[in-house]
């Protein structure tokens, strides 16, 4: 008979201290040994984790009002500009923003030593941060400039809000061109000299729930060392499963938008990152508990690196041109072995997302749940599953005369 459990039953077991939690690594041998049905009956929650660089991340703040009042229209934190086109003392800082005077790639490859992700890390670490703001001055908000030093504790609100995190799967990057390239997938040597990948594989949250049966809007998660929530589907969310020609399945395309109180987070789980020749970013620790409600959820949650595939993409020519046709597919087991085989050659493979940290996150989340301090939340709504999200569209370049925008109308008047 099929095993079914409700989230309320699982939460009751968490409260009574009887909950059975395994990490996404630990559940694999259990399911191999006892089968999906038996394992579903025994296990209540499977915890996942990932610790990778996630560029679509940022935080918004309320700085508190100045005296006299000020409607900040330009804001910098440690010389990194935050978007202030919001109410008077609110601003949103993006992870990839770099200082106005950053040399960028003027001497290629640029170093991008400091950016929005680093500011977020410094705030979470309790470091004082320089706040500079300019305003044009109004009758109700006369002040025009401020230079001060803030800490995270000083702020009324500080909220991490990441429009796209936890990419379900990611490319394995190689370089077919004849020069070394510097990408968000790290340094790639010419003629397929190396291959970089950036997913935690069998620990990665969305690879373990490809149909989005367990995770939805309002799901409580581990975010940056604190508690966060799934806010929405992430940008570019379009989950799919493709049957590969040589056997196996490619799960990919799902993403999450997540939110959480920055004041609860920890600097070791939100780390500023600098990618040579590419830019600054933020590495985010994120973990999702998967409630084992039925055998289907357990089946997917217990898939291993041997069954999880990633596409190999050329970042030398195909990816920048916008035509990323996979050169092949490899399993995470093969990637973790240290070499992949492509076109009859052995290519050294290395990760960019920290597997030890992902494992730690899954273990912390497991501990939180076992201690009774972390209950699972019923999603308010599920996210679009496979076949339910509209396909991702490219940006088309329309000629301005076909466009009835204001600027055109103004000109014709």
């Amino acid at each position: 008979m099929a095993v079914e459990k409700s989230l309320a039953e699982i939460n009751a077991r968490i409260k009574s201290g009887k909950v059975v939690v395994l990490t996404a690594e630990e559940v694999i041998p259990l399911v191999r040994e006892k089968g999906v049905q038996q394992a579903t009956a025994e296990v209540d929650v499977v915890t996942t984790g990932t610790f990778g660089t996630m560029c679509s991340s940022g935080a918004y703040f309320n700085f508190g009002h100045t005296k006299p009042r000020m409607k900040m229209s330009k804001v910098w934190l440690n010389n990194v500009q935050a978007y202030a086109g919001l109410a008077a003392v609110d601003a949103f800082l993006g992870a990839t923003q770099v200082p106005d005077d950053d040399p960028l790639n003027s001497i290629h490859p640029g170093e991008f030593r400091y950016g929005g992700g680093h500011v977020i890390h410094d705030l979470v670490a309790g470091q004082p941060v320089h706040l500079r703001a300019l305003a044009y001055g109004t009758d109700c908000y006369p002040r025009r400039e401020i230079n001060t030093v803030i800490t995270l504790d000083d702020l009324n609100q500080a909220v991490l809000f990441n429009p796209r995190n936890a990419y379900q799967n990611y490319n394995v990057a190689v370089n077919l061109s004849d020069r070394t390239i510097y990408t968000y997938m790290g340094v790639l040597k010419p003629h397929m000299g190396n291959a970089n990948y950036s997913t935690a594989g069998q620990l990665s949250p969305l690879l373990k729930d490809p149909y989005f049966r367990a995770t939805g809007i309002g799901s409580r998660i581990f975010l940056g060392g604190g508690i966060g929530y799934v806010a929405w589907q992430g940008t570019q969310h379009c989950p799919e499963i493709i049957e590969l020609p040589a056997g196996g399945k490619l799960i990919s395309g799902g993403t999450l938008a997540v939110i959480g109180d920055l004041k609860q987070m920890r600097p070791e789980w939100l780390v500023g990152a600098s990618f040579l020749g590419y830019g600054a970013s933020l590495t985010v620790g994120l973990g999702i508990p998967i409630p084992i409600l039925n055998e289907e959820i357990m089946y997917w949650a217990s898939r291993s690196d041997e069954e999880l595939y990633a596409p190999v993409i050329d970042y030398g020519l195909a990816y920048p041109a916008g035509n990323p046709q996979p050169l092949g597919y490899v399993t995470y087991a093969r990637l973790k072995s240290g070499t992949i085989e492509l076109e009859g050659r052995e290519i050294p493979a290395a990760p960019l997302s920290s597997y030890p940290r992902a494992r730690q996150i899954a273990a912390i989340l497991k501990d939180w749940i076992q201690q009774g301090g972390f209950l699972l939340s019923e999603p308010v709504a599920l996210l679009p599953s496979i076949g339910e999200a509209p396909p991702i569209k490219p940006l088309l370049e329309n000629k301005p005369e076909n466009h009835n925008g204001h600027s055109n109308k103004d000109r014709s008047r």
């Binding site: 610790f51 000299g193 590495t283 072995s337 240290g338 050294p348 030890p356």
Partner: protein, 135 residues
Amino acid sequence: MSPKRVVLRFMATTADKPIIYQLIRNYDLVVNILKAHINPRKEGMMVLEIQGEPEQYTRGLEYLRSLGVTIQPLSQDVQRNETLCTHCGACINVCPSGALFLDRPAMEVHFDEDKCVVCLMCVRACPYKAMEVRF
């Protein structure tokens, strides 16, 4: 004697002396230049791998010191900041000597200082600036 790796630093006044030639000819040492750099002020830095008779090696280094060259063991030059390292792996394939490697199946990044040739590629490639140069 097993090969020893040293970092030499010399002043502008020494930069034009053929010290490698002297090391090889007068002290019978096998010298492998791993890295060499002279800055615009003509101060130089050179990373050498040296092999030879222990006595000759000692005398060779004495000769260098007599010219005002400072000598440091190589392993002191690049260090990993354990607090900053996230064990991501971005450094693994940029390291030409295998000094940085992944310990499987833990997937933790290890740094074998003895294998480091101080090319500094990891210093540039590390997203967290965990590889530090110490002078």
